[in-house]
């Protein structure tokens, strides 16, 4: 029997006179990998905030594993924010940041058990050698891998990621997809990820949610993330570096 991991029904969110989301409904089964794609200002991050219970919708309801986000036990849902959301000058080491994911607070000391658990997951995302480094010394790609480690440290059943590949080079991005897919296969977790990477979504996601304030299309990645839809949504076919002549054609 298929279990519903995430369900949204008629979500509407407005900021003053601006409508960020309008009547968004979808249902995602447990163990699937969903990519959310849409132009800037399409309401993608707003949708994640509603799912996480950070932003109450004006209308509609959401649930994860049949409950509201606030009713779920800590660690069941993990979230990887865009890197720019944290205070860049905060004095912290990589290990502290990952351990904060275990305890849900900032650690003043790190017990051996937490250190081991954090090191294991950092090994998996390829950042264990950075454990004692200051987070200020990391590159954008390294930082994203650290946040990915932090999100996996509690073995969540649902993983929500907001542009996790931002700041990564091609190799880092490919490694991130492999880490996510491996984790999903092993744990049966549900992954929902905002991305601008159409190719990555086609290759790795089971399904794509095309969003432009309302749901444009939702379904299997290969059919939804097609060039025709790209052209309709972005006015472009997705080949960023095609020549001017090709684009006009």
């Amino acid at each position: 029997m298929t279990v519903t991991a995430i369900e949204a029904h008629d979500i509407t969110v407005g900021f003053g006179e601006v409508t960020a989301l309008q009547g968004v409904s979808f249902s995602i089964s447990e163990g699937s990998f969903t990519a959310i794609i849409g132009p800037n200002g399409a309401g993608k991050s707003t949708l994640l905030k509603v799912l996480l219970g950070l932003l109450p919708p004006d209308r509609g309801a959401v649930s994860m594993l049949g409950k509201h986000a606030e009713a779920l036990a800590r660690g069941v849902v993990a979230y990887v924010p865009q890197k720019k959301t944290f205070a860049g000058q905060f004095p912290a080491t990589v290990l502290e940041l990952v351990v904060s994911g275990i305890i849900g607070a900032w650690p003043w000391r790190i017990p051996a058990l937490h250190r081991k658990r954090a090191m294991d997951v950092m090994e998996r995302t390829g950042v264990s050698r950075l454990a004692d480094q200051s987070i200020q010394s990391l590159s954008g790609g390294e930082l994203q891998r650290v946040f990915l480690a932090r999100s996996l440290v509690n073995t969540p059943r649902i993983l929500l990621l907001d542009e996790p590949a931002a700041g990564m080079d091609i190799r880092g991005e490919a490694a991130m997809y492999h880490i996510l897919c491996d984790y999903q296969e092993e744990s049966g977790a549900t992954v929902m990820m905002i991305t601008h990477d159409w190719e990555g979504a086609r290759c790795h996601a089971d399904q794509v949610l095309l969003l432009d304030r309302s749901v444009v299309a939702f379904g299997p990645a290969q059919s939804v993330a097609s060039e025709e839809r790209l052209l309709a949504l972005f006015g472009h076919r997705g080949h960023v570096h095609e020549t001017h002549r090709e684009a006009k054609a």
Binding site: L54, Y79, F86, F90, S100, A105, W106, W108, S134
Partner: protein, 268 residues
């Protein structure tokens, strides 16, 4: 040199100064890392409004200044969370309002306002037993907030992550501002309104230059604050200069040394 410690007056000064140093070391790093350094000055000027109101009403100025400053802090937090204004703008508005009220209360007072200068420039040697009791009560409040350190630090690092983990981020910010208000008011008598923010900002800023971890920043802040009080009061006694500026000059010297260290061997 040691005989001055045997004076009850100096004992009270040391005790009061150390209590404030401990409290400022707990709250200061949060204030600096949340980019609220201007808050100390803003609340100190709000305290001036409260002190002036106390004088106008003929009551103990500090007892009136505490609720007055707490209300101003809550107004700042409320405006911050309900508008798009930056913290320094909200603080600036209430800073000016409180100063205007303070000047007005002093003008309306029948006696002259010369005793208000003690609060402007501070006089640690004027600390009495009641001031110490008040400081002890505030210290107990500070100790009671120790269990909140982890989630306050977490929200200081990233408010969104703290909210995802269901921490009451807004309520905690109100609590932090109220606690800092009380600290500012009880510090006014020691360093004066004009210098009170130094306790919150300079040692924490200095500690930031020396620390790779937030908990280490707290430790350095405590060390520099206590060193500032001990050396500043000692220098104040020996050189016969006001205690407030002496403490702030010691803190500033520590900042200078930390800055040089940071330039020569930055923390990795």
């Amino acid at each position: 040199m040691i005989e001055f410690i045997s004076l009850p007056l100096m004992q009270r000064a040391f005790l009061g100064g150390l209590i404030i140093a401990i409290m400022a070391s707990f709250y200061g790093p949060f204030i600096v890392q949340r980019r609220l350094a201007f808050l100390g000055s803003g609340l100190a000027h709000a305290a001036f409004g409260g002190v002036a109101l106390g004088m106008f009403l003929g009551k103990d100025p500090l007892l009136i200044a505490i609720p007055f400053t707490v209300i101003v802090a809550l107004c700042i937090a409320w405006v911050r969370s309900h508008t798009d204004l930056e913290a320094d703008t909200a603080i600036g508005v209430f800073f000016s309002l409180s100063m205007a009220l303070g000047v007005l209360f002093l003008f309306l007072r029948e006696h002259n306002a010369s005793d208000a200068t003690m609060y402007l420039f501070g006089s640690i040697l004027a600390l009495n037993k009641n001031d110490l009791y008040l400081s002890f009560a505030a210290l107990l409040g500070c100790i009671a907030s120790l269990p909140l350190w982890g989630r306050w630090a977490y929200a200081t690092f990233d408010e969104t992550l703290a909210r995802v983990d269901r921490h009451p981020v807004i309520r905690d910010e109100y609590l932090l501002l109220v606690s800092v208000s009380v600290l500012v008011v009880i510090s006014v008598k020691i360093v004066g309104i004009l210098l009170v923010s130094a306790f919150l900002v300079i040692p924490a800023a200095c500690a930031r230059l020396l620390s790779r971890r937030f908990i280490h920043m707290m430790g350095w802040t405590l060390l520099i604050n206590i060193g500032g009080v001990v050396c500043g009061l000692g220098a104040s006694y020996l050189a016969d200069v006001p205690s407030g500026p002496a403490i702030v000059l010691v803190q500033s010297a520590a900042f200078g040394l930390a800055f040089v260290k940071h330039r020569l061997a930055p923390i990795q």
